[in-house]
């Protein structure tokens, strides 16, 4: 993966930058010891690494503003960072950039059950937001599988989703307001505890902008009362096609489960070997979860089972208690871990129209043969967000590159059938160069115009999202203006 070469002028001015930052930050907020900055060399896309110039770990919006103002004046790129779990290389530094980590900003600022909102500092982890309102039986809905580690900051930047977003939506649908620090240090408040911020929907563009428009330091999030209960059903089929048709029939029938997860045979086998959840060995497995009171759950499950029966399932297992429910989820939840046991893997994240599922799975199978790399499919079937896991051997020369090529083919396929390159993980550096497959240069120009307005000097996370060839002129012009 190509990254722009570091600017020697910035490297040469490191001591000066450190002195300026040290003047506004407490001593422990500035990290430059290479042993300590190593932890910031990469994010969840660990194949790509680069030590940053410096790491700063501010504790307040004011400190973030001071840091950005100084970096802006000095013309130094800044890479915002939450917990570093991005799978797209979104938080990957360059050698001439400052990593601005918000992990120390993790306080709950206000909990308001009457208005059903919580305000937190953005470094707070996703799960601990729900944790903060659990006492009142409330929760924060978007639940990425990484929720134990990932921060609200990263969730907002990537517009992250989760298993339950079929019913509750993704981050953007649950975000009401932010405190955003612009690259020049200006602090702006957008939205708040009321619905729909005034004026243009700036909150909507900031969410999913991958740290390129500003640094989010605080967020107002919608919280919801927990349903009375939830229960999954597990249904096995002897073909992917039939499982796909079943999903679409359930949706057409007006049932809207909170989650519909899909696993194919290679994935089932790996999970079974790893977690021993007692999954049936079949071609395709659906885990469908519904919510409500006991009676409501029973009613919805009955409808789902009726529909599934019409498709001759090879297995149909309803959870009758919490224990069985946990067992049904066990395999699915350990899917990534299971894969990690067998092999190195790359996790793709394209979305397709639900109706194209059988076709896409068949094509992936063919590509897998062609590239000689195994694939396991696990994904959110209700909304067509696929996570094919391509297995490769990082120690085998050329295997990573082969895997990336294969991955690119699959993502192009997603676009070809009317879908997109990434459903929830973001573009980062990983899918940067494929952007021109989904969008025309003109479409991308419109996005670049937004970046120009928020960050005219192109200093925030500059080498991400857009193909370098497309952003090059702007990055260079900004440098020349220095």
């Amino acid at each position: 993966m190509e990254m722009p070469p570091p600017d020697p002028a910035i490297l040469a001015r490191k001591a000066h930058l450190v002195a300026r930052l040290a003047a506004v930050l407490p001593g422990d907020a500035l990290i430059q010891d290479p042993r300590e900055t190593r932890a910031y060399e990469c994010d969840g896309l660990a194949a790509y690494r680069c030590p940053p110039l410096l790491v700063v770990l501010p504790r307040s919006t004011q400190e973030v503003s001071d840091i950005l103002r100084i970096c802006h004046e000095e013309g130094v790129p800044v890479v915002p960072r939450g917990a570093g779990t991005s799978l797209a290389g979104g938080a990957l530094p360059t050698a001439d950039s400052v990593i601005l980590g918000v992990a120390r900003m993790n306080a709950v600022l206000e909990t308001d059950y009457e208005d059903r909102v919580i305000r937190v500092q953005s470094g707070r982890t996703n799960l601990s937001v729900s944790g903060a309102v659990e006492e009142a039986d409330f929760f924060y809905a978007p639940d990425p599988s990484s929720q134990l580690a990932c921060a609200i900051a990263g969730n907002i930047a990537m517009n992250s989703g989760g298993a339950h977003c079929l019913k509750y939506g993704v981050t953007t649908n649950n975000l009401l307001g932010v405190t955003l620090v612009m690259m020049d240090g200006t602090v702006v408040e957008i939205g708040g505890a009321h619905l729909d911020a005034a004026g243009l929907d700036l909150l909507g563009v900031i969410c999913g902008s991958e740290g390129q428009l500003g640094v989010v330091t605080e967020a107002t999030l919608r919280i919801l009362r927990k349903p009375e209960g939830a229960r999954p059903v597990l249904i096995g089929f002897d073909s992917n096609e039939v499982a796909g048709t079943c999903v679409s029939d359930i949706i057409k029938a007006g049932v809207l489960p909170v989650a519909i997860e899909f696993m194919d045979r290679p994935c089932i086998e790996a999970c079974e070997a790893f977690a021993k959840a007692g999954y049936p060995m079949c071609e395709a497995l659906l885990i469908i979860e519904v919510e409500g009171s006991e009676a409501e759950i029973a009613h919805q499950l009955r409808l789902i089972v009726e529909i599934a029966q019409r498709h001759n399932p090879v297995e149909l297992r309803e959870a009758s208690d919490a224990d069985e429910a946990a067992r049904i989820w066990l395999g699915r939840k350990s899917a990534f871990g299971a894969m990690g046991q067998i092999n190195d893997y790359m996790c793709l994240d394209g979305t397709i129209p639900v109706g194209s599922l059988p076709l896409v799975l068949r094509r992936i199978g063919e590509l897998s043969q062609q590239y000689g790399l195994a694939v396991a499919n696990v994904f959110h079937a209700g909304d067509g967000n696929m996570h094919p896991l391509i297995l490769f051997d990082a120690n085998k020369p050329g295997d990573l590159e082969l895997c990336e090529e294969f991955g690119a083919e699959v993502l192009k396929l997603c676009v070809d059938v009317g879908g997109c390159l990434t459903g929830e993980h973001g573009v980062g550096i990983e899918k940067r160069d494929l952007m021109l497959y989904q969008y025309s240069p003109r479409d991308l120009e419109a996005q670049l115009m937004v970046k120009d307005v928020f960050d005219p000097k192109w200093l925030l996370n500059p080498a991400k999202v857009f193909p370098l060839s497309i952003s090059e002129d702007r990055r260079r012009a900004a440098l020349a203006a220095e």
Binding site: E114, P227, T422, G423, G426, A446
Partner: protein, 382 residues
């Protein structure tokens, strides 16, 4: 003499905008009834549903497609637009055929906003022509998509100032089997908001919470499968008994249309304001507004106010120390000129918005002035 442009295709739309020498007033169905100076450009010729996949819950339509046409097709498959686009024709005294493009351009969201989200939350993809005449697409027709910046959200609620939508793709949802409304007799606004908060904070998935002070009723809507609705209705009625006596109505479609379209103010003179606040601020703010009539939706978070002409509700909000925003939905020319249609924004946000308009519409052709909230901008009354 002002012209009327009626492009018949996206390509023609792009030609019209490229060729334009003077400001354009973008019209969908024209039901919004607020004029901007300039030639009229209507999306009437861009009409038709291009794709509908009930099993994927998605529909793609050209921007000028009448909402009614989409609603009819969806209903034939037992589906609907869950954001309840509002119909303001009676309130504004307009006729016309509301379009899907217009509904998204104003981010038109009804009572279900509190549970299912705003119009923008259902918009999956757009095609539009910007002020330079360039055709741009963003998003797509799948439900999860984080590929690049979300210009879809930016276009929703931009009131045509960043581009003219030519095509939209949206997420639709099943029409639930049953819908009931539990109505509680409550005389006091503070108690009404408490009751609505209790309902919205319950596990019973409330999809509407409104208060009509004229009749002293809190309305709570429940939707879903019949047995589930029956169960939740019983539970909720018991839970809410402490706030007032309840009665249940089985068919409530007309009631929620009435609430969503601010029908209570139809035929009455005066300015009409739509105010978004934190629900718990409503009881404090309402008496300060000097309104002749009030209606509350979104659990108290949306206040409709009918006021004597020229009353500046934004100043009253500020005096009450209440955060949020107020849109002057209906006002006389003088009131609009004096107060502006939209809530002025903090300086840096106004700068960003202006910067975006300058980039997307460098010649200032598209509904110029409509979204400017800078008091110095001429023509901002829109």
């Amino acid at each position: 003499m002002n012209k009327m442009l009626t492009p018949q295709s996206e390509a023609e739309l792009a030609e019209c905008i490229t060729a334009a020498q003077a400001p354009l007033h973008i019209i969908g169905g024209g039901t919004r009834g607020c004029a901007v100076a300039g030639d009229a450009l209507t999306t009437q010729g861009l009409s038709g549903i291009e794709l509908y996949e009930p099993g994927s819950l998605t529909l793609v339509a050209k921007a000028g497609t009448p909402l009614a046409e989409i609603e009819t097709l969806l209903a034939s498959e037992g589906q609907r637009m869950a954001f309840e686009p509002m119909d303001m024709r009676s309130l504004l005294g307009d006729s016309g055929t509301p379009t899907i493009g217009g509904a998204f351009a104003v981010n038109s969201s009804g009572p279900r906003r509190i549970q299912g989200g705003a119009a923008r939350d259902y918009l999956l993809g757009v095609r539009f022509v910007d002020g330079s005449g360039q055709v741009i697409k963003n998003g797509g027709r799948v439900m999860k998509n984080v590929t690049g910046y979300d210009l879809v959200k930016l276009m929703a609620g931009a009131h045509g100032t960043l581009g003219v939508l030519s095509e939209v793709s949206l997420k639709v949802l099943p029409i639930p089997e049953a819908s009931v409304t539990v109505s509680l007799a409550v005389a006091d606004l503070a108690v009404a908001v408490q009751a609505m908060s209790a309902a919205l904070g319950s596990p019973f998935d409330v999809t509407g919470a409104a208060y009509d002070p004229a009749v002293g009723l809190v309305h709570i809507r429940l939707e879903g499968f019949a047995p589930s609705v029956a169960y939740r209705q019983e539970k909720l009625t018991a839970d809410l008994a402490r706030f007032g006596t309840a009665e249940t109505r089985q068919s409530s479609e007309a009631l929620w249309k009435y609430i969503g379209s601010a029908a209570a103010f139809v035929g009455r003179t005066g300015d009409v304001w739509r105010i978004s606040v934190k629900p718990s601020d409503a009881p404090r703010l309402a008496p300060q507004l000097g309104a002749e009539a009030l209606q509350f939706d979104w659990g108290g978070g949306l206040i409709w106010a009918l006021t004597p002409e020229g009353a500046d509700l934004r100043t009253r909000m500020a005096q009450a120390g209440v955060a949020g925003h107020a849109t002057l939905v209906r006002g006389s020319g003088e009131t609009l000129a004096a107060l502006g249609r939209f809530q002025p924004q903090a300086r840096p946000l106004e700068e960003i918005s202006k910067g975006l308009r300058r980039r997307f519409d460098p010649r200032g052709l598209l509904n110029p002035g409509l979204m400017d909230t800078d008091p110095m901008t001429p023509g901002r009354m829109g």
